[in-house]
């Protein structure tokens, strides 16, 4: 089933890998450029007003601007993991996962699998390869970014802080994979799992508007804000996400076993 899954995901794999590579290249290419802007900015604040919007946001949100200018490691953590790559992670998982089951049902090819294999083998035969592909791409990009920076001559190292960040993102990807896989199992067409996924990706941040529901917004965890600001790994949130992941997968299997086609 791994080969079949890879074939099905082929187009999306190529597209997203290219997208992430482009993102990484642009980021590293702007590293010296940002230095210059920062340097100029100190003297000429007029210049800042003329910068494009996204650039302004990027700079403004980073609380320790000067630290970023001097510290390559901090630049990597804040700009790759906490921004570009990190922010895109849930959407990336959604794009990879939403058709996993829904497309088979939508296109009628599910009958082929159903007649050949028992339900649990079909379920795991799709979930495990799917997870391997998503995890593979994630692993590639969480490790390639520091490596490329090292090769480009920046002083970057695999510090405990960096590893904590990576582990949090891997757990996040695992959780979103389970959630979006579940949507794909539950719905019979391909549009509903996408809509549900988009709702999750763009809806959850709204919970941070209220103090009581803040914890429902997973983005601070995904982007590793505690790692970035306080330097510590969020163990409780990790544990909760992993337990939730297991529960979702278990319920998903149950739904798939009972589902009528």
């Amino acid at each position: 089933m791994l080969k079949k899954t890879m074939m099905e995901m082929q187009f999306r794999i190529i597209l997203l890998v290219l997208f992430f590579i482009l993102m990484l290249v642009v980021l590293i290419a702007t590293r010296p450029f940002i230095d210059e802007i920062m340097a100029q900015m100190n003297f000429d604040s007029e210049q800042m007003k003329n910068l494009p919007d996204f650039f302004k946001n990027m700079l403004a949100e980073t609380t320790q601007l000067s630290k970023m200018v001097e510290d390559d490691q901090f630049f990597l953590l804040s700009q790759w993991y906490s921004k570009n790559f990190g922010q895109f992670l849930p959407l990336f998982v959604l794009i990879m996962v939403f058709p996993l089951f829904a497309k088979e049902v939508d296109k009628g090819t599910i009958f082929f699998l159903l007649s050949k294999k028992n339900r649990p083998s079909i379920f795991w035969g799709k979930v495990l390869p799917g997870y391997m592909v998503v995890m593979g791409i994630t692993l590639f990009f969480v490790f390639i970014a520091p490596l490329v920076m090292m090769l480009s001559g920046y002083s970057v190292a695999f510090t405990p802080q960096l590893l904590a960040m990576i582990v949090q993102q891997l757990i996040s990807v695992t959780f979103f994979f389970a959630l979006f896989m579940f949507f794909s199992v539950v719905f019979n067409d391909q549009i509903k799992p996408v809509l549900a996924g988009i709702l999750v990706c763009f809806g959850l941040p709204f919970f941070s508007m209220f103090e009581g529901t803040k914890w429902l917004n997973p983005y601070p965890y995904v982007l590793g804000q505690s790692v970035l600001t306080k330097g510590h790994f969020d163990g409780i949130y990790s544990l909760v996400l992993l337990i939730l992941t297991a529960a979702i997968v278990w319920v998903g299997l149950g739904v798939f076993k009972k589902k009528e086609f």
Binding site: K4, G108, T109, L114, K116, K117, N118
Partner: protein
């Protein structure tokens, strides 16, 4: 007729009847109160071609989906005396919807099946695809209905199963290919396999089915050997005002073209009707049998 039946039972020396499939009390109500199949019983002997016949919506596909465990149902279904999940490698299936993965070419489809399907013989798949003259390197996406059916059939036939289940196996095929498929089905039973298939094309069924079960409105109106229809059943055309004693038995009666049409296999009834004046007796072919059965009122 009675004598023949007895002698048949006594001389069981050739092929004692083992069951490939036994369905008991199958009942299916879909969400929204659609009662698709109503407590049906039937079985398929090993080594026979069994056709499920009936108009659209009669419950053919629901029956097959139940057999394969795609839907929940009430009742008991055994395939080779087991639950379907325990015998899947022994059962090959072509669904009503013949869509295969569109991004694949037939060549890729064979490779994928070789990995996924138990007891799959890629050479056999190649042979069938060549026979159907499918373009091996073209994407399935651009295939016609007939090509999709040919592809699915090739993949299904390449699985070395004991029971082959086909839901409308000639869908979209031109008449020559259709005969080709019928011959392939016959060769399956000659090789000792069992075939259950659905169709609404009676001439097709007449050519290859050993037994038929006629489904109508979720019920089985008739289940038996196609040959027995000719041997046992008679259709009588009678004047409309013909009085029929009510202890005579018939399977179906209808009023058609200002005639009373009676379909019966009961010897006493046949004997009685032969005496009737202006009675016209006909040995029904499958088409006539099917039409009379479906259009008439049923007395089973």
């Amino acid at each position: 007729m009675l004598e023949r039946r007895i002698s048949e039972k006594e001389s069981g020396s050739i092929g004692a009847e083992k069951k490939a499939l036994v369905i008991k009390g199958l009942d299916k109500v879909y969400k929204g109160d659609v009662h698709a199949v109503k407590e049906i019983d039937f079985d398929v002997n090993e080594g026979e071609v069994h056709a499920l016949l009936g108009p659209n919506g009669a419950g053919k596909t629901t029956t097959i989906k139940s057999v394969l465990g795609f839907i929940h149902y009430q009742g008991d279904i055994r395939v080779f005396n087991e639950k379907i999940d325990d015998v899947r490698p022994n059962v090959a299936f072509v669904p009503e919807d013949k869509s295969f993965y569109e991004f694949m070419t037939p060549e890729m489809a064979i490779k994928v099946c070789t990995r996924i399907v138990d007891q799959f013989d890629p050479n056999r798949a190649f042979d069938f695809m060549r026979r159907f003259s499918l373009p091996m390197k073209k994407k399935i996406k651009g295939f016609s209905h007939g090509m999709k059916t040919s592809l699915y059939l090739s993949l299904c036939l390449a699985q070395k199963a004991s029971l082959y289940i086909f839901d409308e196996p000639t869908w979209g095929l031109d008449p020559i290919r259709r005969d080709d498929v019928l011959e392939i089905i016959r060769n399956l039973v000659i090789d000792g396999k069992t075939v259950l298939y659905t169709s609404h094309i009676i001439s097709e069924v007449e050519k290859i089915a050993d037994r038929i079960s006629i489904l109508f409105d979720g019920r089985i109106l008739f289940s038996g050997y196609t040959d027995d229809i000719k041997a046992d059943f008679r259709v009588f055309y009678l004047p409309l005002d013909e009085q029929l004693p009510n202890h005579y038995q018939f399977l179906s009666s209808q009023k058609d073209r200002e005639k009373l049409v009676i379909l019966t296999a009961d010897e006493k009834t046949i004997h009685f009707l032969r005496q009737a004046e202006q009675a016209e007796e006909v040995v029904p072919n499958l088409e006539m049998f099917f039409q009379t059965l479906l259009r008439g009122k049923h007395y089973a």
